[in-house]
Amino acid sequence: MEIHRQKYFGKFGGMYVPSILETTFDELTQAYQEARSDPAFWDGFAQYMRSYSGRPTPLTFAENLTGYLGGAKIYIKREDLNHTGAHKINNVIGQGLLAKRMGKKRVIAETGAGQHGVATATMAAKFGFECEIYMGEVDVKRQRPNVFWMEKLGAKVNVVKDGTRTLKDAINATFRDWAYSMETTHYVLGTACGPYPFPEMVAWFQSIVGKEAKKQILDVEDRLPNHVYACVGGGSNSLGIFSGFMDDKDVELVGVEAGGLGLDTGKHAARLASKDGKIGIAEGMKTVFLQTEEGQMMETHSISAGLDYVGISPILADLHERKRIRFEAATDDEVVEALRLALRKEGIVPALESAHAFAQAFKEAPRMGKDEIIVINQSGRGDKDIFTVADALKDRAWEDFIIQKAEEYRAGR
């Protein structure tokens, strides 16, 4: 895929930034474009990912799921095996190398699920940057283990209590920090959203996933897959894997959004798969948002913090409009069921985010021919979701354990 080297993707994208940030964006754009046209930069990046994060991640044949569902042959791209447990590290190391090139001393980032926060804190520790992370209060509550590790990695975690207290508010808060600190600081945006060059740059770093996946499926099957599934929060993991197949018109690309309690309940985060998304401008970009008639961003809902976001990558909004990608949604219940099945059948623990891609693939695979091939992107591992999953499954033993632990803590005070 030749990623556009322009600010717009069809009618989406742009650079809607306050003038205070313009210089920073110019500087970033220049550094990014220089890095991008310097093959040594990519090589250094790929080498770093190999020796630090364990790339290439494997493409695992899901033999049991294939047999159980009785349709297409299912492969899983294992981004969960990355250091820090998700694809987020790809982008973060890329931006970290860029920030070093730009001579920055400090990095800041927003995070929803906390994976991007952990990845950024990790990179900051490794590269010697100071680090602050902004995270919505709602997300801090449901992803406490990630907050814990960010802090232990030396990052300061700022709890954002504005607005809906989720990802979009964390993004705004990070931009506010940047407006003061840009001289010394790089904002490591975590997904393929925000003002140019972020969408394109993040998609570029994540394209390492698609490059590998394409090579791997050709190695084992000697042909391309028929369908590729990825979950879609901001859009970075999906663009990452899709990029490998973008120019192969026969490969169907399926983006799976958070269906929450159902597309007709208003409690979801499906910007493209539902009828509720409308074009708008926020977080520095023009794209499809879940917003009111008045253009106010809505509260979204998803069991997975990482997909619980009002906006979507402008690159995806464009590919949706151009019908290159089909968008679907999986509900919270379907996702928990898919997680359960993946655990039982393959011994893998997809993150709740990734489990959306699994859920949709599981719905469609049985109706496919045995000669068809599916690739599912497992964007991360679900360890971090233990509190959410335990709650969703109403695990009594876990509750008892927590209650007892709480009693110990209380007694110790």
């Binding site: 809607y16 306050p18 003038s19 205070i20 313009e22 506010r176 840009m182 926020a282 023009k286 253009g295």
Partner: protein
């Protein structure tokens, strides 16, 4: 039009005062009282912010007001109607709109500018809509004789300032330091130099904003500043002491 009105006002007064408020926060009723007080206490220009759920360039105080107003269900149409009422009520005062790009975009940009102009609004401040993204906006402003106001900030290069100046009308909104609203500007020689730099790029009146706190700050302002823009301080005063406190503060500044 805006520029003329400002120049005219400036003739009568060394420094114009431009306080800020968030529409629908805590209510339109309260806005009416506040604006009356502002007008009576010496405000020359009033910046009315149409609330938005994601005000990325605002600090915590204004942010909270936006949140509350959005939760109150404030609509763009209400704000436009309110502006019409107020502009008619205080024809001597200059009213501007401040908001974020999505509000006019979703309302319909062309229409938004027209209705605002008809209401009597003389200028628009949309911090997340740089000129490069605003072709439609700029032409609508031109057609409706509304001033598109852009921000000059310390980090902008001279080339950038020249570009901004070329699109800016009415006044330039100058930022005293890096950062979002609500942080105090240190008024010292560096600021004077900065204003000089801004001044060399434009012939428009200079508004200086972000962080003014007291009469002392006002007195120390470089002489090239035409307008003192006061946002967070006003909102904080209003939150704590109501319109009365705002009035008292403005009167002090104007004294």
């Amino acid at each position: 039009m805006l520029e003329d009105r400002i120049r005219a006002a400036r003739k009568r007064k060394r420094l114009l005062l431009m306080p800020h408020l968030v529409l629908g926060y805590p209510s339109f009723e309260s806005n009416r009282e506040l604006i009356r007080t502002m007008v009576e206490s010496g405000a020359d220009i009033i910046e009315m912010q149409i609330p938005f759920s994601d005000p990325m360039a605002d600090g915590p105080v204004i942010l909270k007001a936006n949140d509350a107003a959005v939760r109150n269900g404030v609509t763009t149409s209400q704000c436009l109607a309110f502006a019409k009422e107020i502009c008619a009520l205080y024809p001597e005062t200059i009213f501007l709109f401040m908001t974020y790009a999505n509000v006019p975009f979703v309302y319909g940009l062309e229409n938004f500018v027209k209705v605002a102009a008809d209401a009597g609004i003389l200028g628009l401040i949309i911090p997340d809509l740089p000129p490069e993204e605003g072709a439609e906006y700029l032409s609508a402003c031109e057609r409706n004789d509304v001033a598109p106001i852009f921000l000059f900030t310390p980090t902008n290069t001279p080339e950038r300032l020249r570009v901004l100046a070329s699109y800016c009308r009415g006044l330039v909104y100058c930022v005293g330091r890096t950062g979002v609203t609500g942080i105090k500007t240190k008024i010292d020689d560096a600021l004077g130099a900065m204003i000089q730099r801004y001044k060399s790029m434009t012939t428009l009146p200079i508004g200086l904003g972000f962080g003014l706190q007291s009469k002392k700050d006002i007195d120390a302002l470089p002489k090239d500043v035409d307008i003192a823009i006061i946002g967070t301080k006003i909102l904080t005063l209003h939150n704590e002491g109501g319109a009365k406190a705002v009035g008292q503060f403005l009167r002090e500044l104007a004294a």
